[in-house]
Chain length 208, copies 2
């Protein structure tokens, strides 16, 4: 479609700007409440202590709660309000890139709007997509919402501290995700107990 | 926009057809994995035993898992696959209405695609919208995704059996939902323990 073509061109221009500044960019996606901001909170402190300079762009329909949570970690963060759109697009990212100190960043993480569908269709200039799936959402999600699993380099099963209280078949969900996307990297985390956060951080550090 | 205007006209024509057949129609919405199908499973058995004749239209990106779950309850059900669209629209409903036995139904429940944003923008011919919010999604959702709360006649806080294991401020979430929509009806359910299912059924029965 014309919209996606125009978006892709602008995404490529964002990517060129980010590469020229030496910034590795991740498009973080997942359903509302999957734990995208919580995963960011869990990894940023650890990445910073390892010397990685991280910045964040927050995407939401409205409000700035997520950016305020990230701001307490003392990293550069900017909040985008889409005003109704259910996903970020390359134009929205293009408009705020100049307000980020790109020359003093190693990594930029863009938290997309909570939605398991449309964000996977719109490149914004990222190197990779990373998605979060809360185990409370159910083990049928890879088959029911396949696009984001297909597009993501890695999948974080989050809130694994809740597994004892729900019927979530991890084998089924993992198998289905890997059928949809053979090389998808899989992590399992709890932002409450910090289970799995080390492994995720080690992988993130190795991306640059 | 032209798209929404055309959609609304078709939604009104769906509504006329449903009213002529004496069918009360509910558009059931919520994020992926909020528990829309589980709430349906919990209420349909009870509504049926009360003599209410219920049919279901399932909306998903792909697959028929939800329709298969509902089919085990021995009620008329049809599965729509949107093929990528993140919401149902009036045209999709119009195309399947004739395959539902409308003259022998009292109530039609349309389960929309899991998404906390776009489904609230597209009327499909319903009398009311009913939304489900899992408490595992977080107490900030009304403020962050206000449209669906504004459009819904009632809000079901689901998975309340998980409250002891998470930080969910029910007062905050309820207050915010009611600030966004003063007359919203609020229910609290667990599809696991069946807490709150009676009250929800009583309200549903009273709608006709
Ligand atoms: N038990 C448990 N709760 C978690 C975990 N991670 C996040 N949560 C909770 O899940 C809810 C949503 O977390 P967020 O990090 O705000 O989710 P999000 O994906 O950023 O949500 P949106 O940006 O609104 O789409 C909050 O109540 C968190 O406290 C976890 O690992 N375990
Ligand atoms: N503990 C608990 N789990 C629940 C409850 N309701 C639903 N679940 C679980 O939540 C997951 C998702 O439930 P579904 O009913 O499939 O959710 P849905 O909103 O229909 O999901 P989609 O149609 O895929 O968007 C499943 O694993 C259910 O077993 C509840 O009240 N308590
Ligand atoms: Mg967030
Ligand atoms: Mg469902």
């Amino acid at each position: 479609s014309k919209i996606l073509e125009a978006n892709d061109r602008l995404a490529d221009s964002n990517a060129r700007k980010l590469k020229a500044a030496g910034v590795y960019t991740i498009n973080l996606m997942g359903a509302p409440g999957a734990g995208k901001t919580s995963v960011l909170e869990a990894v940023i402190t650890q990445l910073k202590s390892g010397g990685l300079r991280v910045g964040v762009i927050e995407g939401d329909i409205t409000g700035s709660e997520d950016a305020q949570r990230i701001a307490t970690l003392n990293v550069p963060v900017v909040q985008i309000n889409t005003g109704g759109a259910c996903h970020l697009d390359a134009n929205m990212i293009n408009e705020v890139l100049d307000s980020m100190p790109l020359d003093s960043l190693d990594m930029l993480i863009i938290e997309n709007v909570g939605n398991l569908v449309c964000p996977a269709e719109f490149k914004v200039g990222e190197d990779i997509k990373l998605m979060v799936l809360s185990v409370t959402e159910g083990d049928d999600k890879p088959l029911k919402y396949p696009l984001m699993f297909r597009e993501s380099a890695a999948l974080v099963f989050n809130k694994i501290d809740l597994l004892p209280y729900i019927n979530f078949n991890m084998d089924r969900a993992q198998k289905d995700a890997m059928t949809i996307h053979h090389e998808i990297r899989i992590f399992k985390t709890s932002c409450k107990t910090r289970d799995g956060v080390e492994e995720l951080c080690a992988w993130l550090k190795g991306l640059r």
